[in-house]
């Protein structure tokens, strides 16, 4: 009898990872469920959502008759994800902690932990696909276009993907819910989690002000005309309309940039204000899943935010690994700190961090 291949499944207590575990078990793997505790969110009443989520993991694993454990990555998460998150905000940028969490925690610390348990694979409930072809491993978008999560997985490398299973990549979310209901899983009707995992349902402003002192300052137009006051630059992101509190006649106001040195928030009127548009960007920390040599230039599509439609771009890889990205069409509200992720059809080529925004070959310093 062949020994079953062992898969360590990352279980969050949500419906996606519950169904993923179920599917793996049905496919004949030896499945071990592990809950990652990355954040201590015990509130003043001693209640901690991690404990409640873990209770759901226990219920589902008991339903599936698989062993379950919990592993604590709080320290690593703080060091590699949260510190980065705060540092980016201090620089006036809008970071993407999920990208970092996948890179440093789920597909590094957790993967290593799984390997120490003798796992052949690690699995998660992400909506993405892995394709193995003659010596190469590729990552493809999940078939449910609305749920595709390759944007957040852009930093994974080939040698990591080789050990990864994404059981949900081939199905739409509706199918996942249906399977959960058919099997009466404890999490079948659980609400999807929203927002940044460590903030949860809390108010972002309240949360971030516990860690970064808010420094209120002036709101001006790019020409320096004062139009109001802001509560702290970290509370705003490029292209934002809500919460500016500027009244008066004319079109609504939008955030177009930040000046961290002088603590000024730049705003302009009109959704389509020219200052919101750019035609190129410079990306740092770029990972290509199939390595690409410096000095290479190619055409592909890209996303600059999660759930955005792809846009056509021209990519040039510099000697030092930095990447120039030119847009076929001008793009609105490109935001430093967010990820730019490249695609060739369904294949995710990799991605990097948006560092500089350019228009007509000039860096738009006002963006931040």
């Amino acid at each position: 009898m062949d020994k079953k291949e062992r898969v360590v499944m990352g279980m969050s207590g949500g419906v996606d990872s519950s169904v993923a575990a179920l599917l793996l078990k049905e496919q004949g793997y030896e499945v071990i469920g592990i809950f990652m505790k990355n954040w201590d969110d015990t509130d003043e009443n001693g209640v901690c959502t991690a404990t409640e989520d873990y209770e759901d993991v226990i219920r589902v694993c008991n339903d599936l008759d698989i062993p379950y454990y919990s592993v604590n990555f709080e320290e690593k998460y703080w060091e590699h994800v949260f510190t980065y998150f705060l540092d980016e905000y201090k620089k006036g940028r809008t970071p993407n902690p999920d990208v970092m969490c996948n890179k440093e925690i789920k597909f590094k610390a957790f993967l290593n932990h799984a390997l120490s348990l003798g796992a052949d694979y690690v699995a998660t409930g992400h909506y993405a696909r892995v394709r193995k072809t003659d010596g190469h491993v590729e990552m493809l978008r999940g078939v449910d276009d609305n749920k595709d999560q390759t944007y957040f997985l852009n930093q994974l490398t080939e040698d990591v993907l080789e050990k990864v299973l994404f059981p949900l990549g081939d199905m739409p979310k509706s199918e996942v819910r249906k399977i959960a209901q058919e099997h009466n899983l404890a999490t079948a009707n659980k609400k999807d989690s929203t927002g940044i995992c460590f903030i949860g349902e809390r108010n972002f402003k309240d949360f971030i002000s516990e860690y970064l002192p808010a420094q209120p300052g002036k709101m001006t137009t790019l020409e320096g005309k004062e139009v109001g006051n802001h509560d702290g630059l970290m509370y705003y992101t490029i292209g934002q309309r809500q919460g500016l509190g500027i009244g008066g006649p004319g079109d609504p106001w939008f955030v177009v940039g930040k000046n961290v040195t002088d603590n000024i928030l730049y705003v302009e009127q009109g959704f389509d204000h020219d200052a919101l548009y750019s035609d190129a960007l410079l990306a740092t920390d770029v990972n290509f899943i199939q390595p690409i040599e410096p000095h290479t230039t190619f055409t592909c599509t890209a996303k600059f935010r999660y759930r955005q439609k792809d846009s056509k771009v021209h990519v040039h890889v510099r000697e030092d690994g930095l990447v120039d990205v030119q847009f076929d069409e001008p793009q609105r509200a490109i935001t430093p700190g967010q990820a730019v992720v490249f695609y060739d059809g369904d294949v995710c080529l990799g991605g990097g961090t948006i560092d500089q925004i350019l228009k007509n070959e000039v860096a738009l310093d006002y963006v931040g």
């Binding site: 454990y69 120490s116 003798g118």
Partner: protein, 380 residues
């Protein structure tokens, strides 16, 4: 693959004989021991007999035993009960930094209620510093509580010497003997303890039952209000069936202690010998010559406790480390921190193995083989 249970310090299997006795009792007897009719008297007779068995096993009197829901309740009652009844005499308490959470958390609660607590330190051998106790005692000191055998290392603490010190100074002395009861022959007069805690499920009895020995003349405040059970010291209808099972487990200890402990010792030695033979790199935490035979705490350099425990479970070996915390993650052991300091290697790579009378040396060799494979894979 057969499962191997070597986590007896967490809990033990219910002895067949204990199960039978409880079953027989439950088949026909259901009276409330406080009732003034034949049904009540019948149940009452069983509790009285059980109380005698437990009291005599400790060298105490029947009137000095209070049945509780377990070790934690007994410890809470002892510490809180004495502290609250004697706060006019002083508000200083002494314990150690290697006690069970039941003691440490009760002490912390008392601290938030105006009491002052001194935590005696532990040395690298796992033993508390007895000189520190002598120095810590003041006119304000009303109670000392030190465990008899540590639950993580198995190290036996100098209870008789502490008993003598407390007797001389006329300070109440409680010992948590949950892990000592069974391996050691306990006599409350010889140890000069005023209060002593034991638990049934650590000695092949049922869960949910324990006992607190309280020396005659000890003033304690009751923490649970209601009926007048247990000489007004613990309100609530007694868990008679559990108490009956507890007494049966105690009888078994008294008859078979030497044989059982010899077997446990043989298993522990076989386990260590097999690990050495398999070239597993390990060190023993705590002075083995001062420990009960059944508990061994081992450090495996180059491994990590979370990964080790999961690997052991996957290989069907039940062992443990520290205590579980929120969301099931492993909390660093405060006992090992007390011994080696907060940033020591041992905290991150130590596992407790604890043996029981149903273990066999052959089983231990098999366990050592599986552990060797795990350690070698992790260290590679």
């Amino acid at each position: 693959m057969d499962s191997i249970y070597i986590d007896h310090a967490a809990t033990t299997p219910l002895a067949t004989r204990v199960n039978e006795v409880m079953y027989e009792y439950g088949k026909t007897i259901y009276g409330n021991p406080s009732s003034v009719h034949a049904f009540g008297r019948e149940a009452r007779k069983y509790i009285d007999e059980a109380r005698m068995t437990v009291a005599h096993s400790l060298g105490g009197q029947e009137s000095e035993v209070i049945f509780t829901s377990g070790g934690t309740e007994a410890i809470n009652s002892a510490l809180m009960g004495v502290a609250l009844a004697h706060k006019k005499d002083g508000k200083h308490l002494i314990t150690s930094n290697q006690e069970h959470q039941a003691t440490l958390h009760t002490m912390r609660y008392l601290e938030t209620n105006g009491f002052k607590v001194t935590y005696i330190e532990t040395d690298e051998t796992g033993c508390i510093n007895i000189e520190q106790i002598k120095r810590a005692i003041t006119d304000e000191t009303i109670l000392v509580s030190i465990m008899m055998v540590n639950n993580e290392t198995g190290v036996i603490q100098p209870i008789e010497e502490i008993g003598a010190i407390c007797a001389e100074k006329e300070i109440y002395f409680h010992t948590d003997a949950v892990q000592a009861f069974g391996p050691l022959d306990i006599n409350v007069d010889q140890l000069q303890v005023d209060l002593l805690t034991i638990s049934a499920h650590k000695v092949n009895g049922p869960k949910g039952v324990g006992a607190l020995y309280v020396r005659e003349g000890t003033h304690m405040q009751s923490l649970q209000f209601g009926g007048e059970q247990e000489r007004k010291r613990r309100a609530g209808t007694e868990n008679v069936i559990g108490i009956v099972g507890f007494a049966e487990a105690v009888k078994d200890i008294q008859q078979n202690r030497v044989n059982d402990q010899n077997n446990i010792q043989a298993c522990a030695e076989a386990f260590l010998h097999a690990l050495t033979k398999q070239d597993v790199n390990y060190t023993i935490n705590g002075d083995r010559s001062k420990s009960v035979p059944g508990i061994i705490n081992l450090s495996f350099p180059g491994t990590h406790v979370e990964s080790m425990l999961m690997n052991l479970d996957i290989e069907r070996i039940a062992a443990s480390s520290g205590s579980a915390c929120t969301a099931g993650t492993v909390e660093p052991s405060h006992v090992l921190q007390a011994m080696f300091g907060e940033s020591s290697e041992e905290i991150t790579n130590s596992i407790r193995f604890s043996f029981g009378k149903e273990n066999t040396p052959e089983e231990m060799e098999e366990a050592a083989k599986r552990i060797a494979a795990i350690v070698q894979r992790i260290q590679a």
